[in-house]
Amino acid sequence: MKHLEVSGLRFSQGDFNLQASFSLDRGMTGIILGPSGCGKTTLLRCIAGLERPDAGEITLAGTAINLLPPEKRNLGFIFQDLALFDHVSGRKNIEFGLKLKKTPKAETVASIASLAKKLKIEALLDRKPFSMSGGEKQRLAFARAIATKPGLLLMDEPLSSLDAPLRRELRAYLRSTFSREGVTALHVTHDVEEALELGDEIFIMNHGRIVARGEPRAIFEAPPDAWCVRFLGLGFLLPVLSIKTQGGVGIAVTPFGLYAYPPKGCKASKDEIDRGEAHLYIPKRAASLLPDSMKHVDLGSSIGILEAEVEGIVFQGTFQKIELLPTPTKKDAHGAAGPAAASNHIEVEMDSAAAIAKGERARFSIEPGKCSIVPERVHS
């Protein structure tokens, strides 16, 4: 039995419609990742009972909670603005939930002391939130939310207002505390880096629907559609004109050459390919620079070679980001490719040592095992 199960949840407000079904195991951290306005906060609020869904069932540890008021659901919620009670001390903030649960005084004192020690917030107990820094407030809000040992911790982008170093620090803090305390959490964010670092399971949302789910590695290695590739910034997409088989290997025909893809690597339907709604997904790290000696060789209809003009090089520390303008293959440049060949810029990532210069024409070999054909959008 799953710890959290959301089934057939529906919520609508004006033109916005939310539909979701998913589940989460005990002790896991689920990340709801999606662009602004996709409904991730609304989903969280529905689970917390702060919005009333039109339909659906939510169970937590086997008990249906969807008909209960928020205060009876045994949840912790960390709000985007943290919603600390500024008029009382840090201690009173943490005490609030414990008192309502009628925890005996001695136990309250003891559990606040141990929580404060574990979360390193002893110094905050006797201060009021308005005198605290952003990071201190975060820790206090976190302590307040987990003090009552909720069955599920819901977090609505609590790190979004912090600067990058502090965000990194708090991510590490949350990750270690989650695993130590065995917290089951559902965390809403639009930050991909945060999702990867904190998530045991990722739910990607768009337009009120969960469009992809799975372990971070699985999603990143095999994104379900082109929208996810773009949203997560995983790699680049080339329009697929058709597919064929050559020597038992699947080949995607694109305006920029022919590329092999692995067996089961085509997630688009024939219809989608025919309608021009399929793309070849090439991960950023799947391209490697061919040596200069290969520059002027006639490639004919070689498979897996991308020719492009280097438009820019951005140093990123351990790697470099190469901005490319792919060159259409001759045949397709004036023929079938049409507008699809009016190419977009693409980006690949390579080792910092790779010898490449801006303005030059370069050739890259594409690793077939990492490519796949994805539809424009999965309809769930």
Binding site: L50, P69, E71, L75, D81, F96, R144, T148
Partner: protein
């Protein structure tokens, strides 16, 4: 630069405070002068006046009626504040705009409408009689309860606007956080919303308390049998017994108490500004559904029956023509016609006087109010610390609330003593003195919402300091100045006290004409004048509402 800014703040603050206190000082001198040289101690009569049983009973009555009125106004206004903060419904703007009533409708008009509605032959009483509750409410209007009722219904819109506008801006996440931590609806309201709302509730309460504490005309009419307030005592001492020392003693006692309330007001004003600083983006308002719709409907009916009813009665009376002694009447425009025709059309002349005097007074009030607001803004805008912010807000609150702690009767008599004359100039000065604090308050809010970054953006785009000020700051402030001017105009237009005491009968304004017609029992015509007056004040106020939400 900072030094100059601060001294500017001080000098305008001092000027404004001096302007407020000058008439009290002048009146004190005239009171002492009146006691003559033979007195062994000039302070003795003052002290005696303070401890007399009549003073103590007036003090008790003043406090009790003001406290009860404030509590009732809060009770009536609070649900309204909740509805305008949380829901988007038809009539929401109307509820907010009702806040004009206590500022812009002269008390005499309110009295007239309450008598016409709740009085012996009033509409409300007639409906009660029809329903078989004939004489249940009779006499109630002329007791302390009647007084409290009128005060509460005169002032509750202040609660709707002040509390409602703060509530609307408040994020709901604290209340929701409390719920997810296990609190029920009531407890989560108490933990997550009430502490942040309390400053605005207490700020409104102290303002209403001050208005009721100084209430004069309404007490004179409705409180007559139940008791007398200090303000009525002051008026009687000046007007009938010419006992200026007693009037001064009462006024000082009244001011001492009022200063405590002003202190509370200034304190809560600052807390309110502090609390609402970090509210962030206002949460969305929803359309009311089922239960909330029902509640808003019930509340609207309640307000319509008890509050709009009297105003409706006033309007009906203005168009009622009585043509026989037996009381027969019909609908018609004769009440207006009578006032508009003849060799000396009363209504036109009074409207002309009102417009010119109020226009001048409002202009003067805007100039003074703008100067105070601008200088206090300028005094602390660079590198402002929390302490400096607090100090600026406190000082602003004190200066602008100070005039509320002074007896209108004494102020009028003081101005009269100060200028040693009567007439138009005095009326303009007196009315300016009552209107400028409200201008300063609303412009302070506008100044503090000015974002310095916009000015800086203009500078980086090539504007000179002067160009940036004119094209950015002035352009942003202009609508607020216009609305403050409209508000000042409404206040001065509706004021009856200043021309009554200072006018010397030379210029008859609309409120004065209203008084004269009422005292000669020409109620229908008085109502017609009231309608014209209400039109002027409400048009100005609605213009203000278009650009600004808080007074």
């Amino acid at each position: 630069m900072r030094g100059r800014d601060t001294s500017l703040l001080w000098s305008f603050g001092f000027l404004a405070a001096a302007f407020s206190i000058a008439p009290l000082v002048a009146f004190s001198f005239s009171a002492f002068a009146g006691m003559g040289k033979a007195d062994a101690s000039k302070t003795l009569p003052l002290l005696l006046a303070l401890v007399s049983p009549s003073t103590l009973s007036a003090l008790r009555f003043s406090l009790v009626q003001a406290a009860l009125s404030t509590v009732l106004a809060l009770l009536v206004g609070f649900p309204g504040a909740f509805f305008v903060a949380r829901y988007d419904f038809r009539g929401r703007r109307f509820f907010m705009a009702l806040a004009a009533v206590p500022f812009c409708l002269p008390a005499i008009l309110v009295i007239l409408s309450f008598i016409l509605y709740y009085g012996k032959n009033g509409y409300f009483s007639l409906i009660l009689a029809r329903l078989g509750y004939g004489s249940k409410g009779e006499g109630l209007l002329y007791s302390i309860w009647g007084l409290v009722f009128v005060h509460a219904f005169y002032n509750f819109p202040i609660v709707i606007q002040n509390v409602g506008s703060v509530w609307a801006k408040m994020s709901r996440s604290r209340e929701e956080a409390a719920r997810t931590l296990g609190a029920g609806k009531f407890r989560s309201f108490a933990a997550g919303t009430l502490p942040y709302l309390l400053p605005s509730i207490l700020q409104s309460a102290s303002l209403i308390f001050l208005f009721c504490f100084f209430s004069f005309t309404i007490v004179l009419v409705f409180g007559g049998l139940a008791g007398s307030t200090l303000e009525v005592g002051i008026y009687r001492a000046i007007r009938f017994t010419n006992d200026r020392p007693k009037a001064l003693a009462l006024a000082l006692l009244q001011t001492a108490i009022a200063l405590l309330v002003v202190g509370a007001f200034a304190h809560f004003d600052r807390k309110n500004a502090d609390a609402s600083k970090d509210f962030g983006n206002p949460p969305p308002r929803h359309r009311p559904r089922s239960f909330s719709l029902l509640a808003i409907g019930a509340y609207s009916v309640l307000i319509a029956v008890f509050f709009l009813g009297p105003l409706f009665a006033l309007t009906a009376e203005a168009f009622t023509v009585r043509y026989s002694l037996a009381g027969e009447s019909r609908f018609g425009l004769e009440n207006f016609a009578r006032l508009l025709t003849g060799p000396a059309p009363l209504l036109l002349r009074a409207a002309g006087s009102s417009l010119s005097l109020s226009g001048l007074a409002a202009l003067a009030a805007v100039i003074l109010g703008f100067s105070v607001a601008a200088s206090s803004h300028n005094g602390a805008r660079r590198g402002q610390t929390a302490k400096a912010f607090g100090f600026r807000v406190s000082m602003n609150s004190w200066i602008t609330a100070l005039p509320l702690a002074l007896s209108p009767a004494v102020i009028s008599a003081g101005w009269s003593a100060l200028m040693d004359s009567s007439g138009e100039l005095l009326i303009v000065i007196g009315q300016m003195a009552i209107a400028w604090p409200f201008v300063a308050r609303s412009l302070s809010a506008a100044f503090s919402s000015l974002d310095r970054k916009r000015n800086e953006a203009a500078r980086t785009l090539g504007a000179s300091p002067l160009q940036a000020m004119i094209r950015v700051d002035a352009a942003l402030i202009a609508p607020s100045v216009a609305s403050a001017a409209a508000f000042a105009f409404s206040i001065t237009m509706g004021d009856a006290n200043i021309p009554l005491i200072l006018g010397g009968g030379k210029r008859e304004t609309l409120p004065l004409l209203l008084y004269r017609l009422t005292s000669s029992y020409r109620f229908s015509e008085a109502c017609a004048v009231g309608i014209v007056l209400a039109l002027f004040t409400s048009v100005a106020f609605f213009l203000k509402e278009r650009t600004h939400e808080t007074p």
